[in-house]
């Protein structure tokens, strides 16, 4: 009788535990990802901002970068693709986003932002 009661009480726990473990796993994974600095949307500290070359851009597809152009102006955006001396950048503006291309020759420097 006692065993039956214990089993009955434990049954919901057995179902709940894997779900809770999955939740804890997701939470811990997100915390680690953010701590690693790889997650998007985080403002990097000045120490984390580093300069990269155009050739390295391909390794940073999906990351937000800052381009300083030859005329001194700067542009921000997410690297969508790189190829043929051009980088396609995705940026948000107004009521949507837009894609624009920048030529290697127009870019003075690139920073992971």
């Amino acid at each position: 009788m006692l065993l039956r009661t214990v089993l009955l009480l434990a049954a919901p726990l057995l179902f709940a535990l894997p779900a809770q473990a999955a939740t804890a796993d997701d939470e811990a994974w997100i915390a680690r990802y953010i701590a690693s600095g790889q997650a998007p949307g985080l403002t990097p500290s000045s120490a984390q901002v580093r300069e990269i070359t155009f050739a390295q851009l391909g390794e940073h597809v999906g990351r937000r970068v800052r381009f300083v152009l030859n005329d001194g102006r700067s542009r921000h955006g997410i690297v969508e693709s790189v190829g043929g001396g051009q980088v396609q950048v995705r940026a948000q503006f107004g009521s949507g986003f837009f894609l624009y291309g920048l030529s290697r020759s127009d870019i003075r420097s690139i920073q992971l932002d």
Binding site: A22, L42, G96, F98
Partner: protein, 364 residues
Amino acid sequence: MLGSLTSLAGYLLVLFVITVWMCVKIWRRSPLLAIGAFFLWPLSLIALFLYWGDEDSDIRVPFALSLVVSILIGVMAMRAVDKGIDEMAWMLSDEDIAQIRLEDPKLADQLEEARRRLDAEYDEYDDGEYDDSDAIDPPPRSGSSSARQPSATPAPAAVETEVDPVQAEIQHRLELAQAVHLLSWRFGIVDLAPAAAKLRLPQDFRFVPRNHALRVARLRGTPLDNDVIGWVVHRQVDLARDDAWYVQMRYVPLETRLRAPTLARLDKAEISTEISHHAGRIAQALQGDRRRRAEAATWDPETGIATWQWPADEQESAHRDHIAALPVGNGLLEFSVPAVHQVHAELGERAARLMAARTTVTAP
């Protein structure tokens, strides 16, 4: 608003110092009048005329200064009130303003007027800045957060344009940063009304309800549908950045409840097919009028949570909306992490699923 109040406090401090100076001068002739003038400003008029030209107690200079500072304070106070109304107009929903109207119709009128004016200014800015720009195609308009459209045009940045898109972008970013700064957050347990459910926010996450997120959403180019409940955002994520991610929650009532499949007595292959079909049905129910193919759709029979991805836009891009959905009553609660690049796909998937898993249904 805070800046205006700080300036106002500064002016009040200056007025206090001038008043003390004035009272010290009056004290030399009449301590009683000095005390009276300190508490009742019009009494200083008596002292002004009584001691006009008096070597010790002439208060012409402090009196004139106090007048000037008082006028400045009045102007500042009026500006602070106007600014406060503008900010309230952005943050409050139509329902909130309707509620205010019941108690204070005049304030409600002012709020609506401010909203119309700000909307007009915003639209003018949004439309005008990109007119005739060859450098960058105008960003397309969209009616809902799930209808983003790209304009894919290579744009050499050096092309001369009438309006400098870089300046327009900077202005837009500043406006967005200000709107993000003004967000007010909730922590702990969040009621997900109209869904009969509560969400226990994970550590380091915070919630902003729809009403407060409206302006930020518009500036981010993802205007909120009416069924959106709010956003859950990690405290380190800056919503002013293009690559910011968040979990958007919405509740979609259904005409008929989606029945979970019975998996008992099915073999492995049948279970897998049934799970995939059920997740597909849930995705279909949340799709609305749009035709998007749910990718990697699956359903967890233990938690009842379905997860899948949708292409974030109609172009072939690397961005996906990551969705988790939980049945609540006769409807579905959708947890969506919109427009996440595929390099961060696992983040989108886990974040959506985490919020769904931490949601407790409070009524059957």
